[in-house]
């Protein structure tokens, strides 16, 4: 039975709630794994909750104008927007969100929307580090966008659709149907782009603490920072779900979703702990090199 | 104990103290200079105090003295001065005389304790003996700290 619009909105909120908490726990447990590599016991898994609560109850004393406040709002909107048009669990009524109302292009737009909003907001803060971080971030984003876009194009060609539900549906019926196995080059290009998207080493150029202390978020504190921290969980969740749907056969229940997204996210940490950070120019050169070639190859293969 | 023997016992004791006052008065008569007179006057006043105390007890009808004997520093038994102090007597001479006098009183009461038949009288003599031992102790201590400092 098709739920009413109000019902769908209710489900969407529930879904958003679940993904937020999942995102937070994911961040917490990844921090714990990173700590293990670094020889530490590490923070509690629930530490992100504490951080958000602490930030959110504080009062913001500084104003840099309307755009400054809107930055985190845009960012959060980007995160929520991305998530809202991806089915978290294939075939689920609750977790399908509004995936039938948008397609892959809309989702990709939302991925950038938040960044742009953030760029405008943080730029308003007037701190040079924000500006540098923004320019670095946008430059790198442009770079990893190339292999990512290429692999999305390859997927779209392969499945002949931009509808995410349809792409997931096409991968059902055994893991050999996953894009991972049907179009591995596209997946490789996309995963490399994903490293850049997730801001882990060696692509952590935006927040690069030793170079430009934390970059754009430097200027944000208190509840605005809380908003950014919340978005981080949602946005991560959304991207992971998207990757899972496009390349790893989606999920038919929440457990599969958790396992798959956890593993996808772990790739970041796995690489991130082993390498230092690229300089921005090195990062750009990197993305425009091998990953782009792989992406092109995947498109060619898909097209042929 | 009957009242008579109580009165009698105390009268005897008061008599001893009066004799002590007389002893010092006699010594004062021999004294040649201020320091001697001052020391003797002090000890005499002490004995007069004892007279007053015993008289008070007599009128109240109860002996109010501790039975605990003071520690014997053992000086009295050794000190030599048999001879009576002279006009040139110094502090040592006066103290020795005082210690000897208290020693004699103690000895007397001790023999009275031994001779007493009435247990109550015996108890009073015991207490008086203890009291005299405390007086002796007082002078012995003075002797130790003021005279025989180096011995």
């Amino acid at each position: 039975m098709e739920p009413t619009l109000l019902g769908r909105i209710g489900y969407a909120f529930l879904s958003l709630f679940v993904i937020t908490n999942y995102g937070l726990l994911l961040i917490g447990s990844m921090a714990r794994i990173s700590a293990k590599v670094q020889g530490r016991v590490g923070q509690p898994v629930y530490q992100p909750y504490i951080d958000i609560i602490k930030s959110s109850v504080k009062r913001n004393a500084i104003s840099h104008g309307i755009m400054f406040y809107l930055g985190p709002v845009f960012r959060l909107a980007g995160g929520v927007g991305t998530y809202m048009f991806i089915p978290a669990v294939f075939g689920s009524v609750v977790f399908r969100n509004f995936s039938d109302s948008g397609d892959l292009l809309l989702v990709m737009y939302f991925i950038f929307f938040g960044q742009l909003g953030m760029a405008l907001g943080a730029g308003e803060g007037g701190h040079p580090y924000s500006a540098i971080g923004v320019s670095r971030g946008l430059a790198q984003m442009t770079a990893f966008e190339v292999p990512f876009a290429l692999s999305v194009i390859a997927v779209a060609i392969q499945y002949g659709t931009l509808d995410i539900n349809a792409i997931v549906g096409a991968q059902q019926g055994g893991f050999l149907n996953w894009t991972l196995f049907t179009n591995p080059l596209a997946v490789v290009a996309a995963i490399i782009a994903f490293l850049g998207m997730s801001m882990h080493n060696p692509f952590s150029v935006v927040i690069a603490p030793q170079e430009i202390p934390i970059g754009p978020p430097t200027e944000y504190q208190a509840n605005l920072l809380g908003m950014l921290q919340t978005n981080r969980a949602i946005f991560n969740g959304a991207k992971l779900v998207l990757y899972m749907n496009l390349f790893f056969g989606g999920a038919t229940n929440i457990l599969v979703m958790v396992v798959k997204t956890f593993l996808i996210y772990f790739i970041n940490v796995f690489v991130g702990q082993a390498f230092p950070r690229f300089r921005t120019d090195q990062s750009i050169r990197f993305f425009l090199g091998v990953p782009t070639l792989i992406g092109i190859a995947s498109v060619i293969i898909a097209a042929v | 104990m009957n009242t008579a023997s109580f009165q009698e016992t105390l009268d005897f004791a008061i008599g001893r103290e009066r004799a002590a006052v007389e002893f010092y008065r006699e010594l004062t008569g021999k004294a040649a200079f201020a320091a001697q007179k001052s020391a003797l006057a002090e000890f005499m006043a002490m004995e007069e105090g004892h007279v007053a105390m015993l008289t008070g007890m007599k009128s109240r009808g109860a002996v109010n003295l501790s039975p605990g004997a003071a520690v014997d520093l053992g000086l009295a038994r050794r000190l030599a001065a048999e001879e009576e102090p002279t006009a040139a007597m110094d502090f040592q001479d006066i103290l020795v005389a005082a210690i000897k006098k208290e020693e004699r009183s103690g000895d007397l009461y001790r023999s009275l304790v031994a001779a007493a038949l009435d247990p109550d009288v015996k108890a009073i003599f015991e207490r008086l003996e203890a009291e005299e031992s405390r007086h002796k102790r007082y002078f012995e201590e003075l002797y130790e700290t003021q005279v025989a400092r180096d011995n």
Partner: protein, 387 residues
């Protein structure tokens, strides 16, 4: 990635960018900045993300040590000097103590000489461990930093056991040291060295065979050999430029003449090689510590009796005592006017040269992202600039 022999020597003169042109970005790196190795600040003028001019600013940590010392008794300065270079306080303690002993004509017992050498080598290792964490961290490799700081803590544990203090050991007191080694301490030293050596092997594998680290560090901050004398560059920075200079060899102080070690030099003189050279010196330190433990006299006095510290007067005179610290020549110039307080103390820390003159020049033309890595590769401790 830059190739070898492609070194661009930064211009000697400062650029004069027209800041009102709107072309340049003026940016302060520090004093609150995770990429700065202490309380110091760099005022960078960037053209895009390339630094065209840099001005170093110190003074954030100025406590006037040298002046304070003139107001304190000779012995009272002993707990003060260690604060001049926080990560390796023992060199201050040694230089101050040795200067006083020289002026007062005191000979330190043999046992104290060895204990001092042990203490200096241990802190050399600790300081290098802290540095290697900083070097990895400056390029974003936090994992190495976490490991090496742990290893440093293990050395600090040893210091805690030996002297009762982790950071400020205050162990090398004028006249000798403050105590003999506790029971079992030397075994702990050897065990810890084993652990650290194993970890250094891991670091060597992960950090020095790392594509990204090489991309960042190779060719960065090239110091031409002819700068060494011109700027007064010492320590690994000079040795990496191929200049064989090490006070442990050149002056032969403490027990170093009796220890077996080779001077390590390089020639490529960039951030990567300086890191490699320091790693090699860390291994060398471990080796030296093992030698010291094996050859140290078992007993004997560890401190020469000095006059009452409350009235101790040192005959008039002046002296300069130097030691090779992790960053180069560390020296104390002490003047006595015969009184119970120093007339003048001047501290020569290598960071003055490295973090101010050399840094200001090397940073010209460098990407903003590399400024932190470059600064760390010079291994500087700002507190010693501000005595």
């Amino acid at each position: 990635m830059r190739r070898q022999n492609e070194h661009v020597i930064p211009p000697e003169t400062r650029a004069t960018p027209d800041l009102s042109s709107g072309k340049y970005l003026v940016m302060w790196q520090g004093p609150q900045h995770p990429g700065i190795t202490g309380n110091m600040s760099l005022r960078l003028v960037a053209d895009g993300d390339t630094v065209v001019d840099c001005e170093t600013h110190v003074g954030y940590l100025h406590r006037g040590f040298e002046k304070l010392m003139e107001r304190r008794l000779w012995m009272q300065n002993f707990p003060l000097v260690c604060r001049i270079a926080v990560p390796e306080p023992d060199f201050n303690e040694y230089c101050y103590a040795a200067a006083l002993e020289e002026l007062a004509g005191v000979t330190v017992p043999e046992k104290a000489v060895w204990l001092r050498t042990l203490s200096l080598e241990m802190i050399r290792l600790a300081s290098f461990l802290m540095w290697i964490g900083g070097q990895a961290g400056a390029f974003g490799h936090g994992t190495i930093a976490q490991w090496s700081v742990t290893m440093r803590d293990y050395v600090l544990d040893l210091f805690e056991e030996l002297s009762g203090g982790r950071i400020y050991h205050m162990y090398i007191i004028p006249g000798g040291v403050r105590g003999d080694v506790p029971d079992g301490f030397l075994d702990h030293v050897l065990e810890t060295m084993q652990v650290i050596k194993k970890n250094l092997d891991d670091i060597e594998l992960v950090m020095f065979h790392n594509a990204v680290f090489k991309m960042r560090a190779v060719g960065l901050g090239y110091i031409p050999p002819d700068w060494v004398d011109k700027y007064g560059i010492t320590g690994p920075n000079a040795r990496s430029a191929g200049v064989a200079r090490d006070l442990r060899k050149d002056l032969g102080y403490l027990a170093y003449p009796q220890l077996d070690f080779k001077l390590i030099t390089g020639g490529r003189s960039d951030a990567f090689e300086r890191a490699e050279l320091r790693l090699a010196e860390m291994y060398q330190s471990i080796d030296l510590i093992r030698q010291i433990v094996a050859r140290m006299p078992k007993d004997g006095p560890f401190r020469e009796r000095l006059p009452n510290p409350l009235h101790w007067k040192i005959p008039a005179g002046e002296t300069y005592v130097a030691a090779e610290c992790t960053r180069g020549e560390y020296g104390f110039y002490v003047v006595s006017d015969g009184g119970d307080k120093p007339r003048r103390v001047a501290v020569r820390g290598p960071s003055y040269t490295h973090a101010v003159s050399v840094m200001e020049r090397l940073v010209r033309g460098v990407n903003i992202a590399d400024v932190a890595g470059l600064m760390v590769s010079l291994h500087t401790y700002p507190p010693e600039i501000e005595r």
